[in-house]
Symmetry: C2
Subunit: 136 residues, 2 copies
C-alpha cells in the first residue's frame, strides 16, 4: 500500500504541511504511524480526509463543526438524519449571511449613488451619512 510523507499528503490535498500538523493536534485527523526515523507515514485515506476538511470549510463549516461531522460518522448510533439536520442548519446560516451582506450592499450602493465623486471629503455624502446626525 502506498504511503505518503507529510509533504506529499499536503500537496495532494492542497493544504500546507503545518496545517496537517495542526489538524493532527486538533484531532481532525488521526495520529499517523511513524517510520523508524520518526517521520509520519500517511495513507490515502488521510488525503481524502484532508480534502473533506478543505471542502467542508469551503462550504462554510468551521473546524469544530467538521470535527462533529466526522464524529457523527464514526458513531454507529447516529443516523444520516443527524448529518442532514446539520447541513440544513448550515444552509440557514448561509442564507442569513447572504441577507446581511445584501443589506450592507444596498446601503453602500445608495451612498455611492448620492456621491458625485467630486468635491472635498468635507462634503462627501458617504462620510456625512456615517459620521453625521450630530454634525448638521
Amino acid at each position: 500500500m502506498k504511503t505518503f510523507t507529510i509533504g506529499q499528503v499536503a500537496r495532494e490535498a492542497r493544504v500546507g504541511v503545518e496545517t496537517v500538523r495542526f489538524y493532527e493536534r486538533e484531532g481532525l485527523i488521526e495520529e499517523p504511524s511513524r517510520r523508524a526515523s520518526g517521520y509520519r507515514q500517511f495513507d490515502e485515506a488521510v488525503v481524502d480526509r484532508l480534502r473533506f476538511i478543505r471542502e467542508a470549510k469551503e462550504l462554510g463549516f468551521t473546524l469544530n463543526e467538521i470535527k462533529e461531522l466526522l464524529s457523527l460518522k464514526l458513531d454507529p448510533a447516529s443516523s444520516c438524519g443527524n448529518v442532514k439536520d446539520r447541513a440544513e442548519v448550515k444552509i440557514a446560516d448561509i442564507e442569513e449571511k447572504i441577507r446581511t451582506l445584501q443589506r450592507m450592499k444596498r446601503a453602500l450602493v445608495k451612498l455611492t449613488k448620492a456621491c458625485s465623486g467630486d468635491g472635498p471629503t468635507s462634503e462627501c455624502p458617504i462620510l456625512e451619512s456615517l459620521d453625521g446626525r450630530g454634525k448638521q
Copy 2:
C-alpha cells in the same frame, strides 16, 4: 459644552467601555482630554465618531479600513472620489462574498436533497460526497 465620561459615550454610541479604550489605543479616536483625577473627558464628536465606526463596521468595513476612511477625511488633498472608490471596492467585495455563499448553499442544498435522512451515516450521501472520491 457638555462632556461625557467613558461610560456615557459608550452608552450613547452603544459600544462597550473597554471597546472605547481599545479604539483609543488603536488610534480610531483621538486621545481625550482628562480631568484632574485622570478621568477621560469626551465631547459629543466622539459619540458621533463611535457611531460612525459601529455603522461602518455594520457595512462590512474592517477597523483598518475605517481608520483609512477617517484619515482620508482629515487629508485635505483627498477628495470625495477617494471615499467613493473605497466604497465601490467594498461593494465588489461584498458581491464576491455573496457569490461564494451562494455557491456553498447550492452545493449543500443539492446534498441534502440527495439525502433521505434515514439510514446509517455510512450511507450518507452528504458525508460520502465530502469524504468520497477515494472511498468508492
